[in-house]
Every structure is written in C-alpha cells, then in structure tokens.
C-alpha cells in the first residue's frame, strides 16, 4: 500500500488543477447566465 503515499498527495494536486479549471470556467463567463443558454435554442437569430 505504499503507493498511497504517492497517490494521496497526487490527489491533492489534482484537486488544485480542477479548481484552476473551475476558475477558468467562471471567469470566462460560463456561469454568468445559465438560463439564457437553455432558452437560446427556442429563439430565432
């Protein structure tokens, strides 16, 4: 089970990567208007 000593720290690093991904998603406007994207298919133009 020694591999855990590598995997647990790796998971911490991974979480930070995912947090970075979320940061990108939020600040590039992905969540700014959630309803609008769903309704857009119903609208012309």
């Amino acid at each position: 089970m020694d591999i855990l000593y590598f995997l647990v720290p790796l998971s911490v690093v991974l979480v930070f990567f995912i947090i970075g991904g979320i940061w990108w998603a939020i600040y590039s406007g992905q969540f700014d208007d959630i309803e609008k994207e769903g309704e857009r298919i119903l609208k012309d133009g």
Binding site: V8, V15, F31, D32
Partner: protein, 783 residues
C-alpha cells in the same frame, strides 16, 4: 472583502494614486475620478432629482455594496445621517439601494459617498452600466467561493472517510497523519478564500461594536480550524489529536451555497428593474431653429420641442404625434401586449416603443413629469420604504454569542483549578459544539427548499424573506384584470332583429370587427369562429372611431343586394337605445336601424372561484380593487364570491388602501399583473405577479406565477406557513441541541471528536428537515 478594506485609504489620501499598488491602481484611479466627476451638477440628474418645494435639495439613488443584512442598512443610515447637509436617508436592505436627500449648498455627492466608504461599504450612483458590471463581478466571486468550498469539501470527506470506518490497527499512524495533512492543505483555500466574507463581515462587526450572525460563525470557523491544525501538527499537544476538517468544509459549503442562491434571486430582481430604467434612449433627433434635425441628449429636451422618433426607438418623452402614422408597443407600461396604432394627434407615452414608421412628435412632458418616470418613482419609493424584516437568527446572535463565551470561559476556569491540561480542551469543545451551524442554516435552508418546491409548480420566488411575510398574511387584495379573469371577453348573449338569426348577426359583426383591435371586437371574432362567410360580403370604406365603434359600407359579392352602411359599436354610435344598462354591450345597426346587440362577460379563470373560497377558508379576507369600471368590478366579485370590491381605483388609491390596512395592523398580500400594480406590489407584505405581467410588476413581486394558475397562490400561502413551521422546528432543534451539549461539554463529558460529529450532524439534520418542504405532496385545501 480584503479588496474593499485595502481600497479604503485611497479616498482619504490627498494623492490617492501615490499610495496604491500595482494591479488595483488603474481601477482605483477610475473610482476616484468617477467620484469627483459626480460633483459636477451636470451629472447629478443621472442618478438624482431635485426635491420639489425644497430649494437646493436633491434626492439621489445609490447602490450599496458589501451589505449583508438589515443591521448593515441601519449602520449606513446612521453614517449618512451624521454627514452635515444630508437631510434624509432610507436604505433598503432588500434591494441594496439607498435614497439620500441632501442639500447642494452644504455637501456634494462625493462627500456623503465617502462617508459610506469609511463605514466599510461602497456607494455607487444607481445608473446601471456600472452597477451591472459590479453585480457580475460580485456574483462570479460568490460562485467561485462556493465552488472552491464545494470541491474541497468533497475531497476532504474522502480523506476523512478512512478514519471513520477503520478498525483499530487498520490504519497505520503514518497513513493517518498523511490523510490529515492532505485534509489540512485542502482546507486552506476554504478558510483563507471561501470564508473571506464571513471573516471580513465579522471584523467589521468588531470594529463597529455590533454583533450579527457572522461573528459567532466566523469565530466558530476560526477556532475549529486552529484546533484541527494543532491536532494535525502537534497531536500530543494540549488541543488533542482530533481534526474537524470535514465538518468545517461542509459547513462552509452549505452556508456559501445558501448565500449564492440568495444572491442570484436578488440579482434577477435588480436586473429587471434596471432594464426598465434603461428604456429611455440617450439621445434623440430634435428640430433645430434652422429647420434641421440634430441629435441632442434626451436630458436637454424641453416642453414644446419637436422631435423625430425612428422605428425601433423608444419615445423619450410624453407628447402628441404631429406627423406620421405608426404602431407602438406599450406592453411595458400598460400590459397591453398588442401593438397599438397611433395617428396624428394621438398621445404617445415615454418608454413605449415606436414599431413601424418614423414619426414626428411634439414634446409635452419631459423627465420626471412623464408617466413613465412617475410610475418608476412611485415604485422605487415603495420598494425602499418596505419594512425590513429583522432576521430571527440575527436578533439572537448577540445573547447567543455572549452566552457561549461565558460558558466556555467558566468551564475553562472551573477545570483550570483541578486539571489545567484539560481546561483548554473543554473550552474548545464548548466552542466547537456550539458553532452555530444549525442556527445559521435553519432559516435559509428551509426557505430555499420551499422556493424549490414552488418553482416546480410554476411559482418563482424572488425574495426569500417573502415566505416569512406571506405566512403572516391575513388579507389578500386582487387586481381584477388578468388575475381573476383572462384578458379576453366572451359573448354570452345575443339579441337580434326579426328576420335575422343569431349566427348571421354574429358572422356579420365578426366581419366588421376584424378591422378593429378593440378587445370586444376580438371577442366577437373569436365567438364567430373562422368567418368563412367573408366571401359573401365585401367591406369598403372601413372607418374606426376610437372609443365608439367601426363603420363600413357592405357590398354583396356579385351585387345581389344593394350596398348598405353597417355600424358596430356603442349605443350612441349606432343610434340605438341602451337595452340593459350595466351590462357590457356592443350594438350593430344598418340603414334600417337596430340590427343586433351582443352582451359580453369577463372570462373568469376556471379556478378563480375555488381559489377565493380556499383563501377564505384559510381565514383570509379577500378584497378586489380594480382600475376597471365599478360595475364590472362588482360583477366579477359577485361571480367569484368576493364581498368587498371596489372599481375605478387609481394606483394611488390602491396604495392608500394598502397603507390604511397596514396601519390597522393587517398583513396584506397583493396579486397583480399590470404596470399600475408595481408600486402596490412593492408596498405589500407579500406580492404575486402573474406570468403575462409586465416586467415592472414582475420586478417588484415576491412571487411570480408563471402558469397562470390562481390556485398556485393558495399553494404558496400554505407552503409558506409550513415553511415557517419548519424554520421554527429547526431553530428549536438548534436550541435544544445547544442546551444538551453545552452542559455536557462544560463538564468535560463531551470529547472534541464527538463535538465535531454533533456539529456536522446537527447541520445535516436541519438541512434534511428543510428538504421535507420540497416533497411534492398534494395540498389539502382542495377538500
């Protein structure tokens, strides 16, 4: 809110730019510049208006940022009132707006705005591009904090799980230590980033020597974190070896999720209002003295100016058409969704849209005298004077915190004499076990869950506080049009001249009525069904006399019969005697005189009667206040079983009625749909707007019923009463939990790990109890 804090000195320094560091610099300079720009009188009118009867006094609308609760509103009010020259202040905690009346001889806008800055908040003039951008930043940040907390929470749970399930000996000490370190690392962003708002708000409380719920919450978070950190790095130390990272992150996530949802609700409302204020164009083509049209700012318009309005533009002022023929969209102002035709001599109102052609108009009323501005103003003042509901949790925060601190102190002192090593641990247990998770989650969790349940039934909740007010409501006021009835009318009785059948009369009337957009004409066309009869008749010279009727020359195809003049409209227009006064009638006449009479009836919503009955059964007195004619209002009231009805009410009448009932101690819910309801909706304890309602009414309503089902009102009312019951259960659970656990902890019977478990499970219990509200069960009122 570290950004806010660090930015404060900028406004005190004579040379702000010199004290600022790198990244914020440009932004700050802009801010300072923006503030001093506001001192130019030219700019005041963008967010202020002069107060009538008080020379040199201005009334300004500002947005307040950094406000969390009703207590903040009071602080800001006190701060502003202490500025010399500020005459009156009203801060609305709900809409985060403030209305400031100030004297221009004594103070400039940047003067009192700076006072707000110094109190730790930020005031922005309420013109919106600015506010909108700010809101976006705020909501992104709230989401970002919540996401970080959520993600870290999930992962910390993973690391905590082995320790919960492991049998003694399963987990090597090294492995346990590794998992703790991993948890600690992932708790860091939660504590130092996600918890930021709680800490800064708590710090502000300390600075201003007041207590809100954020203070005990922040204290609990900090202590839990410090104790857990000590447990991680110094397991043999005085704080023991227990860690609570999982409970901590979970609690933070719950709180932030609640706050984010609240923020979203609030943003939607603010957005709708701002869109509305923005409807007036910035500039307009005005006829100059040289006969040329030039573009001038709308602010420069004066009564008597001649302006040109292009298709697609909004009318910037009230006035009369001088040239051209167009259709306008007044949906936003009157709720009339169809385009209306406007010809030379007709009045147009500001805020409505010119749809089809270029027109010239003479300006009759500008700025705050327009109907649009008056309604917006009425609504704003109604919204800021709304009674602010003190949050129950906030009111008990102070005694709670003091009690907990005393208990922890006493416990520590008691154990110190006998067992100093244990004393600190006991004090920590007390603080952890009382960490007011359940207390601070009790109310928002229940309300959010109820809001979700209503959303699935087609009712959107705009303001969570509304549940509290709706539960106490004992009076419901209906606005007739569009709430109790559908928009359209139905033909319920036809009388005809000898020799005609009802079908023939209806068909003939429908042919003529097709040329009119009047609601009654549309009802006739609808009643006749599809008029295949059209082919037999041809209409020439169709003329509509506004408010009276339609007239045309009828030719039979092939010239089978001689042509005749057909009139459809009021009794006087058709020159016939009114048959049944009081009823809503349309008459038809030809060259030989009276031909037919059609009687109309409002088309009641099918569930109107059941709804009124259910409300009355729930012990609520139901009123009908309508802008329509008295007899129409009475008729509808009788049909649905309302005894107290009144017609011909202006928006002001309705508002007066509302205030009067409120003064008499009644709690009033208003159900409306049109623009005229805006101010009334805003002033009511709780308000409903129906789906087709104009945005203005929607923006001010607490509940938005989108399916057009009246019974939803009853659902919402009953659910809000249940919500309040659940809130009370949650709060009493939190009280009982504390009453049991605090003594146990004080006497050292509750180890820290059990305290952490208790804290987590009490939060969970409160959330689960709240979730009962979202169960989609049938309400009992239908019995």
């Amino acid at each position: 809110m570290p950004l806010l804090m660090s930015s404060l000195p900028a406004f005190d320094e004579p040379n702000p730019a010199a004290t600022l560091a790198g990244a914020d610099r440009a932004h700050q300079q802009q801010q300072v510049l923006a503030l001093s720009l506001l001192d130019d009188e030219q700019e005041w009118s963008a967010f202020s208006r002069p107060v009538a009867h008080q020379l040199g006094c201005w009334e300004s609308n500002v947005l307040i940022e950094g406000m969390h609760c009703a207590a903040c509103a009071l602080t800001i009010e006190d701060v502003l009132k202490s500025v010399p020259g500020v005459r009156n202040v009203e801060v609305s905690a709900g809409s985060h707006r403030a209305k400031v009346v100030w004297a221009s001889q004594a103070v400039v806008p940047s003067g009192w705005m700076q006072a707000v800055h110094e109190a730790g908040y930020r005031a922005l003039p309420a013109n919106d591009a600015f506010a909108r951008e700010r809101r976006l930043v705020e909501s992104r940040k709230a989401l970002w904090r919540m996401m970080v907390a959520g993600l870290c929470m999930m992962q910390v749970m993973m690391y905590a799980y082995p320790a919960y399930v492991a049998q003694p000996g399963d987990l090597t000490p090294e492995m346990e230590q590794l998992l703790r370190w991993a948890s600690w690392v992932l708790t860091l962003p939660v504590i130092f980033f996600s918890c930021g708002p709680f800490f800064s708000s708590a710090w502000r409380d300390v600075l201003h020597r007041r207590i809100s719920m954020d203070l005990p919450v922040a204290l609990g978070m900090l202590i839990t974190f410090l104790v857990s950190s000590a447990g991680t790095f110094d397991p043999a130390g005085i704080f023991g070896h227990e860690v609570f990272f999982d409970s901590l992150t979970m609690f933070v996530f719950f709180l932030l999720a609640g706050r984010w949802l609240e923020l979203r609700l609030r943003d939607k409302t603010a957005g709708a209002l701002e869109t509305l204020m923005n409807r007036l164009p910035d500039s307009v083509l005005r006829l100059g003295p040289d006969g040329q049209f030039e573009r001038v700012p709308v602010r420069r318009l004066q009564v008597g100016d001649v302006i040109r309005v292009l298709p697609g533009e909004a009318f910037p002022a009230d006035g009369v058409l001088l040239q051209g023929h167009t259709s306008v969209d007044e949906a936003l102002l009157t709720g009339e969704s169809r385009p209306l035709t406007r010809q030379v001599g007709d009045e147009v109102i500001s805020g409505s849209h010119n749809l089809s052609a270029m027109v010239q108009m003479r300006v009759d009323r500008v700025g705050e005298h327009t109907r649009f501005a008056q309604i917006v103003k009425l609504m704003e003042s109604a919204s800021t004077s709304k009674p602010t509901l003190a949050r129950l949790a906030d009111t008990i925060a102070k005694p709670f915190l003091i009690g907990v601190l005393i208990a922890a102190g006493l416990a520590c002192a008691y154990w110190w004499r006998t067992d100093p090593e244990r004393a600190l641990m006991v004090a920590v247990s007390v603080l952890i076990v009382t960490c007011p998770c359940a207390l601070s989650l009790a109310t928002p969790a229940a309300m959010l869950s109820a809001a979700g349940a209503l959303a699935r039934r087609g009712v959107l909740v705009r303001r969570l506080d509304a549940f509290e007010s709706l539960a106490g409501v004992d009076t419901v006021m209906f606005d007739k049009t569009g709430t109790l009835t559908r928009d359209a009318m139905v033909v319920n009785h036809i009388q005809v001249r000898q020799g005609f059948t009802q079908q023939q009369a209806l068909a003939l009337a429908a042919v003529l009525a097709q040329h009119s957009l009047h609601p009654l004409s549309r009802a006739l066309v609808a009643a006749a069904g599809l008029a295949e009869v059209t082919e037999r008749w041809q209409l020439d010279q169709v003329v509509e006399h506004a408010g009276q009727g339609v007239q045309a020359v009828v030719n039979f195809s092939g010239g089978a019969k001689p042509a005749f003049v057909l009139r459809l409209g009021s009794a006087s227009f058709c020159d016939v005697a009114q048959l049944n006064p009081g009823a809503l009638q349309v008459h038809m006449s030809d060259d030989a005189g009276w031909l037919a009479s059609f009687e109309f009836q409002e088309d009641l919503r099918p569930d109107a009667k059941a709804t009124v009955a259910a409300l009355q059964r729930a012990g609520i007195s139901v009123y009908l206040l309508s802008g329509d004619a008295s007899d129409a209002a009475q008729r509808v009231a009788e049909q649905v079983g309302i005894t107290q009805a009144q017609g011909n009410c202006s928006p002001q009448d309705k508002l007066d009625f509302l205030r009067e009932s409120q003064v008499r101690g009644h709690k009033v819910a208003v159900i409306g749909d049109g623009l005229n309801d805006g101010p009334v909706l805003a002033g009511a304890h709780a308000s409903f707007a129906f789906g087709q309602a104009v945005p203005l009414a929607q923006a001010q309503a607490d509940f938005l019923v989108s399916g057009g089902r009246l019974t939803n009102v009853v659902d919402a009312l009953l659910l809000s009463r249940r919500t309040l019951t659940i809130v009370r259960q949650n709060l009493s659970w939190a009280a009982i939990y504390n009453a049991i656990c605090v003594p146990l902890a004080v006497f050292g019977l509750l180890p820290a790990w059990l305290a952490g478990l208790g804290m987590a499970s009490s939060s969970l219990l409160v959330v689960l109890n709240a979730l009962r509200l979202s169960k989609n069960e049938q309400f009992e009122w239908k019995a």
